[in-house]
Amino acid sequence: MNTVRLVGALRGLDLDVQPRELADALWLARFLPGGGPPGEARTPVPSTDPADAEPTEPADPTPERTAPDRLPTPRTPLTGPRSTPTPDSDGASDPVRWVRLHVPGPARRTAGTGGAGLPVRAPAPPALDTRALARSLRPLRRRVPDPHTLALDEEATATRVVEQGLWVPVLRPTSQPWFDLTLAVDTGASMAVWRPLVADLELALTRLGAFRHVRRVRLPSGAEPRLTIGPADGPGGPGHSTRELLDPRGRQLILVVSDCAGPQWHDGSMFRTLQTWARHETVAILQPLPQRMWRRSGLVPVRGRLTATEGDSANRRLRFVPRQWRPGAGLRGLVPVPVLQIQPDWLAGWARLTGTGAGTIDAVVTLPPQPGPPAPAEPVDGPPQDEAARRLSRFLATASPEALRLATQLADLPVTLPIMRLVQQASAVPAHPAHLAEVLLGGLLVRQPDPAGDLRFDFHQGIRPMLRDLLLHTDLLHLRHEIARFLARQMGISMREFAAALSAPAGVAGDAGLGESFGRLPATVLTRLGGRHRELIEFVEQREQDARLPSPANGHHPDPRVTTEPAPSGADPPVDAQDLDGLDATIRALRQATAGGPDRAGLTRLAHALRARFQLTGDVADLVEAASILEQVRGRAGGGTEPDDPDAVLDLAEVRLSLCTERGATADLNEAVALFRSALAAPDGPRSQWWRGTVGLARALVVRADRLGTVPDLDEAVELYLAAAGTAPGPGGDDLRLRAVDALLRRYALTGDTTALTRADAVSGDAPATAGRHSRRVRLADLLRRAARETGEPDLLRRAAALYVEAAERSGPDGDARVLRGLAEARGELSVATGDPAELDAAVEAARAAVAAGGRDDVTHVECLATLGRVLRLRVDRDRRDGDLDALVDAARRLLDAVPGFHPDRHHHLAALGDALRLRYDAGGDAGDIQEACARYEEAVRTSPTSGAQLGRRLADLGDALRARADRFGSRADLDAARQSLTRAVDVTPADDPRLPDRVRLLAEVLLALRERSAAVAVYRRAVELHGRRHGPDGDPTVDVRVAFGRALLAAERFAEAREELRAVADILTQRLGPGHRRTLAVRSAAAEALAGLGDPGGAGRELRDVLAGQIRSLGADDADPAATRRLLDRLAGDG
């Protein structure tokens, strides 16, 4: 036993040892007897942990365990030797007998059936953190000289005697506190919950020693219209006027403790009283509710800064500046009365201000209440059909983390005030009444009738199971542990108590009814209470004889490692999940057994037990101790002539790996790897050992690869897993294969190497079809898709699609939305890559199925809709079928509906819907479509972030849509808007953007439509330039735009340029398409127009006739083009 282990063992009992205390303990141990004969009066072993066996070691209080800094006092009767410590139990630790504590229930007359209980007083924790409160209120201890009491100033007297020879004492006034405190308590119905808080507050204020007197008054309430002086519970005295509290010297400090929910707050009478007080004295309101609930009460809180000067802190001298100045806020003529939460941080600032009379703090003051019905401050009963889920979500939305924690921890306990405070006290966070208020008034609780007349609540129907889900198992264990510890420690000693009942086993008569249980005590604590509990104790201890663990002297201790086979993944040994008590007992016994000497077997079992307990409780200290024990075992073995015990090495390696996972130290990890390797290197071990080593090493290497990104580790891990899987048939082997697949997938993620994916495919194909394999195959498919995107290989996509299909078949008729979506995406990409329309159809089918399958989960649903939209768009681009267009619009609309209004991606969806509508309009011509498309585009532009590449596109789309609408309805306003939009689009688009030329062209067209011809010409010129740069001077788009340019010039009556341009284009087209092509002829006719404009009607006419002939020849006489040419000729003839 070395010092580290001793300290560890003591820490395990929750004793925090300091060096001095340890030295004291060890020094005292010299005098303590080493072991006496059993059968004598028992000496209790001191310990603080109620989970420890209390006086049950009759013989050997082992020296190290005497930590004499705190003892509970289990009572053993003093009448001679006890009968229960049996002679053969030397050193055995008896299991602890537990007795349950219940809230008192309705009294039952059926005694002796084991249901009745014994009444008992259980300790209650304080309602306030009085130390912190006292510290924060210290500045209030302002002392002033009291002119009436004089004391001798010795120094001054002595000095006077010495210097002046006058033997006259110098007297100076003593100092006394400046303030007299009056605690004005609201005793309305809703304040019943806060009574213990008020009592503790009064105690803390009295103890502070900062006030001359402290008195308590009751505020006028509905029942009593006048102020009553006296404690809250006592009989009412004669009522007093509220003005009686006023003190002309202004030295009263009036603290009003209230939740401001009573009617006198709402109708303003209390406010007037406060103002009266505040004009002369120092007043503040102490609110137990948190600030966000103040609006429900009769307060009208206003935030701002409160400043005191002149050393005077009376309210009327405080200056209040509201944070947001509101006109008509009506602060004139009102004296600011600060409202404070009963929390140290709130009170500290205010105390400083009041105590020193100078400074500035942020504060909240209250305005007179608005007339109106008072909001109830009690737990509100909503309509009965209010679902539990809705209540809970409302609570979750507004509760602070501590309040949420409190609520979840109450899920398994009866809800009364003392129990809520017990739970608050069990968590390490300092408890504030505000959190209690949040839970009480959060809408989760409803008041219950209580037999004792105390306050009792219960959760609404159906909330408890939901809260239980939010509670972690380790948190629950910790909570129970802490509550049991508090109860055991304070039972019979605490000043504050509440009524409870003990469950008595059959045969012990009791007369108190039992309600729900909230905790348990070791039975031996009850000896502290004495009296009739004695019978209970005797009865209980009788039973101990029957059910005790075999002592180590007799037999073996059961090994907490349940299976002798290695666990499938080399993890910590499985445990009997709920048997924490059994484990504790085993650990204690083993500690004792090994305390004597280095018993390797015992130490190893102890290490296993500690590991098992760590699994249950998550306490890292257990792991650390297990590690040091195993080091000890190993070191002892290695120092001698025996080689390292490979089992111990493996155990140690596993513990180190767990430690690394808990604490995150790389040193642990590296050591674990080294230990595993050395265990594997040991020759000729049994099969199970090789297996454990292999699996353990593989795990460690995977963790290391995750941490450090070392790829060779991953490779090695994969090989190891596969090797181990090969030898272990059955589910163990399959699990290992799946782990190998995981490692391979990780490898791809790290390196981007697709061979890893292929291999993962193969390995997972070998594994049988289980849920684990299924999820991994789906993930594999996702990664294949990603790889295909990066490398562009369609085979990967095909394989991914096949995997998805396989997974989809597995998931049954309802389908798994994620899988189907993946399939749709894969097929869609495949169709883009290969151009196969069948793939595209299959993609659309899959996307539809995904949307149908994607249940309530919003995110998946949105994604599936987006996928559907994408693949439909692909199909629409290829060939427009009406059904598809409708489906596209529908999908886009649903997607937009599914996305909430504030979502940052909303503009994408708006634009997508606009696109779909535009497409449909282009195909079908439904006016509603174009209207809506414009509206959606506008909204998209409005909600787009101003710095995106998207903005240009949206503006261009908007402009285009507006122009289309203008075409349809002829609205000039639309054209103007289109022009603005396109101008902005062109400005926003960077110069190298390939879409710029098109946008410029669009703009030019719009300008032309607006008849701003010169501007149109200028823009066209630019468009031609851009197109030429991009597509080359002869490119098709360039030619198109040049034609348009030419027509624009024509429209602008710049005939010479028009003619030149058009002739040039006509030449190009003649070359390319032939002289008889429709387009060529159209351009030539335009050129002829230009000629006419230049003043040569004859030449123009000639050309036109030529064109006409050509048109009739190639297009027939009835075509629109020759008709247009003829009209032109006629016009020309008419002009000329």
């Binding site: 007897p33 800094d69 003093l78 130390r131 010795e154 007297t157 209470l529 004495g530 004695r534």
Partner: protein, 336 residues
């Protein structure tokens, strides 16, 4: 009974204190020269413990015994927490009586108590008066300052006695916030200075001072008082207030539960000198059942028994009414 126990809870005085081993090396104090043990009998002990002739039947429980002995061995203060009336202060008297450690030095604490008050008090005005009187009358000679200094309970406990004195600091949870930390320092050091004596140390190296609880005079050298045997400091608390962790670390802590039926019977027997009769047994039962519903002090039981023993034989109802009047619960309001 354990062999290492010095205080055994038997109630009859013995010389077990002579077996107390030397202190641990970090708790050795070397105050010198040794002061003779105090002699006067303790008036208060009789009142609290019942007739001294009989074996005092304040039967402490085994863990009390353990802790008191541990405090004796380790030279550490002992903090006893418990409900009112449970017998915390009586334990100090029992220890002092059994181990013959002299009168208990009792220091009742209020919110105005300071460490200086407990150490010593100096009557400056008195000295000034006498000095001026002397001056006027022309009487030669210096005034012995020892007449104006008076050691308080804490100061007396830290005198260099050969055997530890018992210092009872009552109701320390009522103290000011600073007092426990001040006390910690002095318990660590085991010594204190008297500046008034230090100033005149050159001319008067040794001054005789009156002490608390006794009429003896004790010599103080050079104005420094250092203990030889660290006193057994017993601090009682009602648990109304939490102390700082540093304070808890330096003390041993004992939580005293309430006495059960047998102990109550023993206490009653000790105070009233008779064996418990049927009536007193009834009252004890009643007391216990009431105690389950609220806080009651052992004193109240004794008061009730006294009243019923003295009440005229008017039959049970009168006695019961008297008992009802006296056995009111301590933590309820005026209504119950």
């Amino acid at each position: 009974m354990q062999d290492w126990w010095i205080y055994r809870g038997t109630g009859s005085p013995h010389s077990g204190i002579l077996r107390l081993p030397p202190p641990p090396p970090w708790r050795v104090f070397d105050g010198a020269p040794l002061v003779p043990p105090p002699s006067s009998p303790d008036d208060a002990a009789g009142r609290r413990l019942g007739e001294l002739h009989r074996a005092v039947s304040y039967q402490p429980r085994p863990d009390e015994l353990e802790l008191v002995n541990a405090a004796l061995y380790l030279r550490r203060p002992l903090l006893i927490t418990g409900k009112p009336g449970v017998g915390k202060s009586t334990l100090a008297y029992a220890v002092a009586h059994e181990l013959a450690l002299g009168p208990v030095l009792r220091w009742p604490i209020t919110s105005r108590s300071t460490r200086a008050e407990g150490l010593y008090s100096y009557d400056a005005i008195g000295r000034l008066q006498e000095a001026s009187l002397h001056h006027q009358l022309g009487t030669p000679g210096d005034l012995p300052i020892g007449r104006y200094l008076h050691l308080g309970p804490l100061g007396t406990a830290l005198l260099p006695y050969e055997h530890p004195r018992v210092l009872l600091i009552d109701e320390i949870d009522k103290s000011d916030v600073d007092l426990p930390n001040d006390l910690l320092n002095i318990f660590e050091d085991g010594e204190y200075r008297i500046p008034e004596l230090q100033r005149i140390a050159a001319s008067q190296p040794q001054v005789e001072l009156p002490i608390e609880g006794s009429t003896d005079l004790v010599a103080v050298h050079q104005g420094v008082v250092r203990c030889h045997a660290f006193p057994l400091v017993i601090m009682t608390s009602n648990g109304e207030r939490e102390f700082s962790p540093a304070f808890h670390r330096r003390c041993l802590r004992l939580d005293l539960g309430q006495p059960d039926a047998e102990q109550l019977a023993a206490i009653v027997a000790a105070h009233f000198g008779t064996e418990p009769t049927a009536e007193t047994a009834d009252l004890i039962e009643l007391f216990l059942s009431r105690r389950e519903r609220g806080t009651l002090a052992t004193d109240q039981l004794l008061n009730a028994i006294y009243l019923t023993v003295q009440a005229p034989d008017g039959g049970r109802p009168d006695r019961e009414r008297l008992a009802d009047l006296v056995l009111r619960q301590l933590d309820a309001g005026p209504d119950s």
